[in-house]
Symmetry: C2
Subunit: 374 residues, 2 copies
């Protein structure tokens, strides 16, 4: 039967509300400018990417072939070792981080996880779910790991192998932990076994396209990396990539096979459409389009810092490769209009499409007005 | 830039392949007949249902309001206790089972998980991921738990609280574990603390619409239930419902809050479109439409058993409420045409749309021909 008139009106109202909110949603790391309508015709099928995209599936309505190409592109962006990587398209950052930490725990069952205090709360949830011992490390004021605290804490716990959860772009401040510094500490302490997972949710699609990226890739020391698909690229469905060293995944696959679990992914049934969307996006943007998108966003971030500062707001960003513009928490009245996510004393905007200079000007003017009114 | 002609041709070929495979995909529990095109316009937004659907989100481009109505409908189908349930829309059965077992482990940290040998392999994966001790219980030939083995095994391990993973429809045989029998065993052994999670992936949308359902709901003893959305209802994206007793979830929420993880769902970022699709499906089918869908599928299952038997194939189903028609493993040549998933010595078809009598007749004829050729 058709929807009732009331229900139809509710859907129309939802669409109108989303349309109005889109240009005001400046506080989340989501590119909102995309067009996947050429792929909608695939939503008439009950497709499913269940299982390992590289090993085939009995369920032939899948897009594993396209998924493999997407993972291969991300292997290139993360400089994954030739012939020694494996990955899949996840339902988002949490699953990617869960996967990396799962691989780490299987390799180092007694391992202790270290993560900075600016780490996203979902990581605490994963560590609890997976029963992993962990220690929170102090942050520097800029949100980056306090390497002295890391060094000292590792030194005290040299009896258990360390698993470092590194942020390649923290949620609030866009801060990057430096993998070379982390590796240097591990070397200095002569720690024989360790694992580094890099959560590069947002920055993992920025850094491949800048001139002087900080150390964050596999050759820099990462053992697994998680990158979101719905953030810089933009996608109506949260998604991401989990990628890890193949030799590690293979070791786990053997132990997983032993317990009868034939699937090396976490989700089991996985949707077939986000791999197709990511594939379409990468193909239609190309590396040149991605580079242009990244540099436009970086230029806007620079503009936003200057504009906010010029109006008396103490804005900053972690470095010239960050599109996360941080500032003191605005008065609550500003959040009635703008969709931003303050935390304690700070808030941020993230300069992704459809943001432009006019939006930033309007935001800065509203911010100043809210301060004066407060 | 537009897709290259080659890439466009690949997408066209994929669509053609899916179109050809759809009527032949008879071995998976997926209703393939649905039309969500009225909702495609919502795929132009970077919406996100991050967090608890009942507690609100800063990210205002969400469909939490619709998600709550979907969960409420499933609370009704599962006879969840008034005012004492909580749930959310998951990315599929694995996440729903992971959630139920996570709740169980947090309540009974020393608990031992018991599950039948016919349980889906993904459960072994979850138990490993969550570090839960577990024992596999023998199955009866029909796939249902061997209650004597369960009784005897529980008796031996009375020092640890049991967590029972019950199948309300096993993957291969569609067998149902009987919650009243399980509860009776727990009572007989005077076990003071226990937890039952019910995996009702497929049957959870059948049993609310039959006359004499076996005991499988909350009043029958379930503490949490997982039901798939992409199976009986049909959805282009794998999804499902996790639903649990609210008092248990609240206890976990407190402990999760303590570690700084503010989110009681497993995924974190969750897509906003599957809740909308499930809402649309429930609204446009209505309980009458759902009942008709269920009874049509049951009638087809009955027809399939008779048809296959009439042609000399030893087909059967667990009981008159099952749409899973089981038969001896066919010759491999049959799987070249038909998409079915044999396991060891058996295989099955599942009688969901667009299947009809003509498809079953064709399948039976091909089966017999393949046997003769073999």
């Amino acid at each position: 039967m058709p929807l009732s008139a009331d229900d139809q009106a509710r859907l129309d109202a939802l669409h109108a509300r989303f349309t109005a909110l889109r240009p005001l949603s400046v506080g989340y790391p989501c590119n909102q400018q995309f067009d996947y309508s050429p792929l909608f015709r695939f939503l008439e099928f009950a497709a499913n990417n269940v299982g390992d995209p590289f090993s085939g599936s009995n369920y032939r309505l899948n897009t594993h072939e396209f998924e493999r190409e997407v993972v291969a592109a991300f292997a290139r962006y993360t400089k994954a070792p030739e012939g020694d990587w494996w990955g899949y398209v996840t339902n988002g950052g949490t699953e990617g981080n869960m996967y990396g930490l799962y691989v780490a725990r299987e390799l180092l069952p007694e391992g202790m996880v270290y993560f900075g205090e600016d780490t996203h709360y979902s990581v605490a949830k994963i560590l609890r779910l997976q029963h992993m011992r962990n220690i929170m490390i102090k942050s520097q004021p800029n949100g980056e790991l306090d390497y002295e605290d890391l060094h000292e804490t590792l030194r005290i716990h040299r009896d258990v192998p360390p698993i470092i959860f590194a942020n390649i772009g923290t949620t609030m401040k866009g801060s990057l932990d430096n993998l070379q510094k982390i590796r240097a500490i591990l070397d200095d302490l002569a720690i024989p076994e360790s694992y580094i997972h890099a959560d590069a949710a947002l920055s993992g699609m920025i850094l491949p396209f800048v001139g002087q990226p900080p150390p964050w890739t596999f050759p820099d020391g990462a053992d697994s990396i998680s990158i979101s698909g719905h953030k810089l690229l933009g996608c109506p469905l949260p998604c991401g990539i989990a990628i890890a060293r193949k030799r590690n995944v293979d070791r786990i696959a053997r132990s997983v096979e032993y317990v009868g679990a034939l699937d090396t992914t976490i989700s089991g049934s996985r949707n077939a459409i986000t791999p197709l969307m990511l594939w379409h996006r990468l193909k239609t943007l190309g590396d040149d389009g991605l580079r242009a998108l990244v540099h436009r966003s970086l230029a806007l971030a620079s503009y936003a810092v200057e504009k906010l500062r010029a109006t008396g707001i103490d804005a900053w960003r972690h470095d010239e490769n960050s599109i996360t513009v941080v500032f003191p928490r605005p008065p609550d009245s500003l959040m009635k209009k703008w969709v931003i996510a303050p935390k304690k004393k700070i808030a941020h905007i993230i300069t992704l499409p459809p943001m432009n200079e006019a939006v930033i000007d309007e935001f800065a003017a509203d911010f100043v007005a809210a301060r004066l009114a407060g």
